[in-house]
Every structure is written in structure tokens, then in C-alpha cells.
Symmetry: D2
Subunit: 147 residues, 4 copies
């Protein structure tokens, strides 16, 4: 398995994912030889993250209380090719929950049970007016940690 | 300046970029409040990288000799918001040239001379049949190192 | 029902569709109030068309015999809003099969059995060298007409 | 010149365009042989339309007064191939201004002065609550007709 700097113990890291959505890889997301292009995973990460937060019932869109979510960074490691017409399971977890930010981790698994993608990225919540970080509410932190 | 783990000395890192292309931020690449979405930088990175390699006259598309380029990883740090209608300068450099791969670094600068994005990602060249890495030709390595 | 100039009798037109694929509407394909954006249908049309042709076993990728498929025109009518997280049935049929081109028609239906989108577009097959239209093989025409 | 059903007299139609923006065709918008894909024109149409309306100073975003703009239909005819790295001039005009809707027409011209794309599409303005069409203000109609 390729070394990925944000994963210490692959088995442990993998076992901590509980939430996933199926993602179908479209023709428009592949090149002429049918390989998934390298931009698509970031679209899939976003989709999984939003459905995950919806499933927890947090971030109800009250930007005045909760702040505006802003992506601080994103990264992706491409471990195996995926192809047009495949459906992958896109996993997401809150790997670390800070005072004003959440570090989400991502993992895609194909139908042979192979990990095709890993990723991570930090989401910060900021006040719409001042642009300053907004502390996460205790209830949100608790739900994310228990997810 | 935000700490970015792949940049040791920001001044030195910035000064080593020589090649850039202008990138206009489209309406379709922003959300309803006009912020650039978080997937777009990876499209801009790709565009800059391809134009950069074209400008050097390397990777002429001879995949039998040069191997098929495969993205191994990608990352982006979002330092400043960009907005619909802005044009940014998208810089790219070969930060490290290995035996079979190149580590490209990216930097976007807005018209106030602010760095809005930084990024990096490794490109590997593999044999189309075997999928094994193909060593970079000396001429290509030399051109990239002198760029 | 809105008047659409490429549909004479809506009931008849609708009844002639036999092939469809499910299409899930992603967050990245909607605006901030959750409406599907107006570019996405053309991605869905393409996806349905390619899966449809695959299902018939025609256009096996032999561009020397079959010509290169080129889109001559495309159009879409937006009848009902669709939203983030919805899955629609994307129908496609070969409405007319000519000597060198096919007129595909498209229809999207939501889970309330409402038609949300209609569309059409002509695909021409051209010789890779000369750019001239290539006549469709009889077998392909027959399969498309019986589909 | 290919026959396009929404254009009666090509010379006259072409001469009525006054507003255009340059559009650079990205690598991500082309296929492996460098042809622009068939979804991209609709992104370019949108970009040109928004910049055009901005240039006229209409539709200032006051959705309570002006209604929410909704795309009713869109179509595109592909007359000539465009390639990766090209810049085309994307023209737009208000071909017809109705009581509650505008019929925009589009034309792309390459650097050989060839028309590569033509298109059109109707934009309707609806009340955010009721979904009913909102009449266009006289000032907006006047500016569009004089553009």
C-alpha cells in the first residue's frame, strides 16, 4: 500500500469509517481511455461530506449561528484507477474535531474491496461579516465525535 | 501567512516560480455569493501544468517512449477568496524531479499581489502495458530543472 | 404542458421511450438554493446516450469502420425544477435514424412521474481523415429502429 | 453554412451582435484528441449572458423586484470544431424581449473569423414565492432593445 502522510495505521484508519454513499462514475468524468479524471474525486468528497452532515442533522444552514463553512485545504491520493460506469463507495469521517474546524477524511472503495482513493481536508466555520472563525457548538462537536 | 506543510520558506518558494498563465474565474466556477468553488483550483493546476510542459517542449505525446502521465496525488491550500470575474496568475514549477516522477508546485496570485492558492502534486509516468513506472529521459529532467 | 417544437403528440412521444438510466443530482450540479443548474442536463443526456448504445451493442469503438461520432446540435427544455439529492430517470431513444446521423430524444422523469426535462440532438458519424459523413451500417440502423 | 432553424438570414443575424467576451478553451473542456466537448458551449453562453447583463447595468440581483431568472430552454448548433488552447469570441444579444422573458442568441467566432457555434435560449423571470412569471420592467426592456 502506498504511503500516505495523513494515515499512520491503514487498518485502524480504514476501520473507523462508518458512513458512505455510492458514487457512480460518469462518462464526462473520465478520459478517452475511460479512466476517472483527477478532478472528480474532489466533487465526490464534497458530495459525501454534505450527505454525511445531513445524516447527522448538523449544520442546518443557520449561517448566523453556525458560521459559513469554508474549505481550508484539500488533498487526494490516487491509489487505483477507476473507470467509466463503475460505482464506488465514498466514505467520509470527521477524523479530528477542533475548536473552529473539522478535519474530514475520505476513502473510496471499489467492488473488489480495493481502496482506490484516500483524501482529507479541513473545513473552517467563519462569521459572515467579520470573516473570523466561529467556535463549533458543543452539540455539533458531540455528534461528529460519535459518528 | 497560513502554514503549509510543503512550503518551508515562503519567500524562497515564491521566488522560484517563473512560469504562469492567466486564469479567468467563470460564473459556473463560483457559488451564489460569487466565491470560487473548491474544485476549480484543480482544473486551473492542470491547465497551468499542461501549458508549462508545452512551453518546455517536453512530453510530446509519445506515450510509448515517455510513458502515460498519471497523477499520484494532489493538494491545495485556500489562502484567500477569489471571486467571479477575477483573473488570477496561476504559477507552476517542477519543485522536485525524481527518477520516474515530478513534484509540481502551484501558486495563484491575484491582482493585489496576494497569494490566493498554493498547491502541489506528483505526476508519475507509467508504461501503458505493464503499469510500471518509466524512468524520465535525461533531456526532460534537464529541461525541467532549468525551467 | 409547455409547448416544445420537436414534440407533436406528448403522450405518443412519451410512450415510445423504453430505455432509461437513473441519474442522481449532485450538490455540485445545483446552485445555492438547491436547483439543478442548466448545464447538467447535457451531461445527463450524454450519459444516457452512451449507456443506451452500449446496451444495444452498437458503436464498439471501431472508428475506422463506424466513423467518429460528432454532436451536430443539442437542445433542452426545462419543464420542472429538480433539486440536490433527487434521482431522476433519464430516458433516451433514437427518434429518427438517417443515412449518416441519428436524432436522439431525451426525457427526464422525477419520482412523482412528472417530466422535468425534454431534449434532443443529432449525432453524425464522420470519417476521421476526411471529416466527411460515414453512412451508418445496416445492422446498426436496424438495432436502433427496433430499440 | 448549415441550416439552423432559429436563424433566417445569417448575414443579418450575425451583424446584429455587438457584445462579446473572449473565452479560452481549457484542457478540461476537451477530449483526448483536443476537441471541445459538447457541454462546454452552454457554460460559455451563461458566462457571456451574465457579463452582457452586467455591462447593461440591469438585473442588479434584486430578486424581489425583478424576479428570479429561470432558464426555459437552451440549444446549440456545432458548426466547426474548436480545440484546446484556442480563444473564441463569444457573442450574445437579446434577440427578442417579451413581457416576462428574453430570448438570447449566441454566436462563437474563432480567430479565422469562422462561426464555430450558434445558440439560443429563453430566460424567464419568476416570483420567488409563487413561481409565476414577473413582467420585465420598462427600463430593462429599453436597455436590452437598445443593446
Amino acid at each position: 500500500m502506498a504511503k500516505v502522510d495523513y494515515i499512520e495505521d491503514f487498518q485502524k484508519w480504514r476501520s473507523e469509517f462508518q458512513y458512505s454513499i455510492p458514487v457512480y462514475i460518469r462518462f464526462s468524468e473520465t478520459d478517452m481511455i475511460g479512466h476517472m479524471n483527477n478532478v472528480s474525486p474532489f466533487i465526490y468528497f464534497e458530495e459525501a461530506r454534505i450527505k454525511f452532515l445531513q445524516s447527522l442533522g448538523v449544520f442546518t444552514g443557520n449561517v448566523y449561528e453556525e458560521g459559513v463553512p469554508v474549505v481550508a485545504d484539500l488533498q487526494c491520493n490516487y491509489l487505483k484507477q477507476s473507470y467509466f460506469g463503475e460505482t464506488i463507495d465514498m466514505y467520509v469521517k470527521a477524523n479530528n474535531v477542533g475548536t473552529t474546524s473539522i478535519d474530514f477524511h475520505y476513502m473510496a472503495v471499489n467492488d473488489k474491496n480495493e481502496i482506490t482513493l484516500t483524501g482529507r481536508g479541513r473545513l473552517v466555520f467563519v462569521d459572515q461579516e467579520s470573516g473570523k472563525p466561529v467556535p463549533l457548538k458543543e452539540e455539533i462537536k458531540r455528534k461528529l465525535k460519535n459518528s
